[in-house]
């Protein structure tokens, strides 16, 4: 791997099972006659993807529904192991997909910050340092010592967003978690994301928002059916291609 490349995927393939239930699994064991019936049980979510991402690069991923965008992000994050091919990642990595991982409704806001923060890989001392800023940014005031179940859904989303936006990893993977809360917080959170992305970190983000992609990405990939359809630093070209693909559906 070259020095300036922090994420490198080589011929990565991931097959997802179509049927997940145990009953069919058992039936499969007893009724399987040939390999053929088994082949139909999987679909190729990510098909032979080779991609290098440089340090500090901001890469956008776009594509029709079911193109494998989120799956690809989760492979890079280490959640799924590729079935074939190889993957290497240099640096500390965080995936922002859905907010508030591990939040417990019966624990207080502060306890949840410590729990969820440590799930995202922050140490206790880092969190202790960040807490005032997290609470202030979320704008929930004294509620921080109340159990999460007393929060409105907007407050919960704000706390979760505030926590995730304080994580500053070397590699940031973002899966459309952008706008939460009421309209003023929405604006605040979108600009915060843009701010995070423009920093030092290497970023891979899945988004359908052409404006955001144009504004912050160095390069955009359009995925279709698990394969790379187009990849270019000419972002408009990729977005046009994406619109074409979406129309075909």
């Amino acid at each position: 791997m070259k020095d300036d490349i922090v994420i490198s995927l080589e011929n990565v393939v991931l097959d997802f099972p179509i049927t997940k239930s145990s009953q069919t699994f058992l039936k499969e064991i007893f009724t399987r006659r040939s390999k053929k019936s088994n082949l139909g049980k999987f679909y190729r979510a990510v098909d032979n993807i080779t991609l290098d991402i440089k340090k500090g690069e901001v890469l956008g991923i776009i594509g029709p529904n079911g193109a494998g965008k989120s799956t690809l992000l989760r492979i890079i994050a280490g959640i799924y192991a590729p079935d074939q091919g190889s993957l290497s990642v240099k640096g500390q990595i965080s995936l922002l997909a859905g907010l508030g991982a591990g939040f417990q409704r019966n624990m207080t806001g502060k306890e949840n910050i410590f729990l969820s923060g440590s799930i995202y890989g922050l140490s206790k001392s880092e969190l202790t340092e960040l807490i005032p800023s997290i609470v202030e940014y979320a704008g929930i005031g004294d509620f921080i010592d109340q159990p999460l179940r007393t929060y409105s859904s907007g407050m919960r989303a704000r706390l979760a967003f505030s926590l995730t936006s304080h994580i500053s990893p070397e590699i940031l993977l973002i899966d459309e978690v952008l706008s939460v809360g009421d309209s003023s917080f929405k604006q605040k959170s979108t600009s915060r994301i843009v701010e995070m992305v423009k920093g030092e970190a290497t970023v891979v983000m899945v988004s359908h928002n052409a404006e955001i992609l144009r504004e912050i990405c160095d390069r955009v990939v359009c995925l279709n059916k698990g394969k790379i359809d187009t990849i270019s630093d000419n972002i408009n070209e990729v977005i046009l291609r994406y619109r074409e693909l979406s129309k075909q559906k």
Binding site: L14, F16, P17, K20, S22, F25, L26, R74, I76, A77, G78, I79, Y80, A81, D83, S86, L87, S88, V89, K90, G91, Q92, I93, L95, A97, G98, A101, G102, Q104, N106, M107, E111, F114, L115, S118, I119, Y120, G121, L122, S123, K124, E126
Partner: protein, 278 residues
């Protein structure tokens, strides 16, 4: 920064021999997270209970009373130390069986978290075992007033008590880790495991103990490491090791360590490929 270490492994499936070391290093790198997960279990388990953890004392007490009554009805006679023996059996066995059972479903139970964030999944079963071990330590304190009441002196054999607790839970985590990945593919595994645990409850002498086993069967009975761990716990408190031999203790601890290592190998090598079936 502690979390700098969280880099995706180039080789996701370590070799058989490297697996237990991988698990150890992953856990020691994420100690802070492990601590938070254990305290989460405490908060979630005791939330909204008026009596909080007194339940972990009351439950074994009530069960002991039930089994004592049943036993007296069945056998007609009972020595005054029987409730103590039953209580030690129940406490250690419950911790064992709950650990096996929750470790088996640990990946399925945390599926949304697993799909959201990556961190070493060994944390889940280890946090469960940690939680069960601490609860066991807290609830085993209930034998102290009983020991005082019965005028039982502390002997050097008391060291067998922590050894038996640790061995039982180590074996439990190992067994649970063997089944956790399989449980993702076949949800029936948990049902089978729970049934076996129920059988083990009766086969491990939880509410009778080795002294009620006919002498010609005692060696067979003590082939079961869980039965030996319960006897070790009793021997530790009563200061009387006449029912078990050093050989049996050593063999059982050996089985426990073996289960733990085998469990960690199976878990570490299978979980990353199993996760997509969640």
């Amino acid at each position: 920064m502690e979390s700098k270490e969280r880099v995706i492994e180039l080789n996701p499936t370590p070799s058989i021999f490297a697996s237990p070391f991988r698990m150890y290093s992953n856990i020691s790198k994420n100690r802070g997270l492990l601590k938070n997960m254990i305290s989460r279990d405490f908060k979630v388990n005791y939330y909204g209970h008026v009596l909080g953890y007194f339940w972990s004392l009351l439950e074994p007490l009530a069960l002991t009373a039930i089994f004592f009554v049943v036993f007296v009805i069945l056998r007609g006679n009972a020595d005054t130390l029987l409730p103590l023996k039953i209580m030690i059996g129940i406490l250690i066995f419950n911790a064992f069986s709950r650990t096996v059972s929750s470790c088996t479903s640990s990946l399925v139970a945390n599926s949304s978290l697993i799909q959201q964030v990556y961190f070493p999944r060994e944390i889940f079963p280890t946090a469960i075992t940690g939680f069960r071990f601490i609860s066991l330590c807290l609830s085993i304190l209930i034998i102290i007033p009983y020991m005082i009441y019965e005028d039982l002196a502390l002997t050097k054999y008391i060291v067998l008590l922590p050894i038996s607790m640790i061995s039982a839970l180590m074996m439990a985590q190992g067994l649970g880790m063997m089944f956790a990945s399989l449980q993702i593919r076949i949800r029936d595994v948990k049902q089978v495991v729970d049934l076996i645990l129920r059988a083990a409850f009766f086969l491990s002498g939880v509410f009778y103990g080795a002294e009620h086993i006919p002498p010609e069967h005692i060696d067979t009975f003590l082939l079961n490491p869980v039965a030996v761990f319960l006897e070790m716990g009793r021997a530790a408190v009563l200061g009387d090791t006449s029912l078990i031999t050093t050989m049996q203790v050593a063999r059982s601890i050996g089985i426990s360590i073996f289960c733990f290592i085998l469990g960690s190998i199976i878990f570490v090598r299978s979980e990353r490929r199993a996760v997509k079936f969640l």
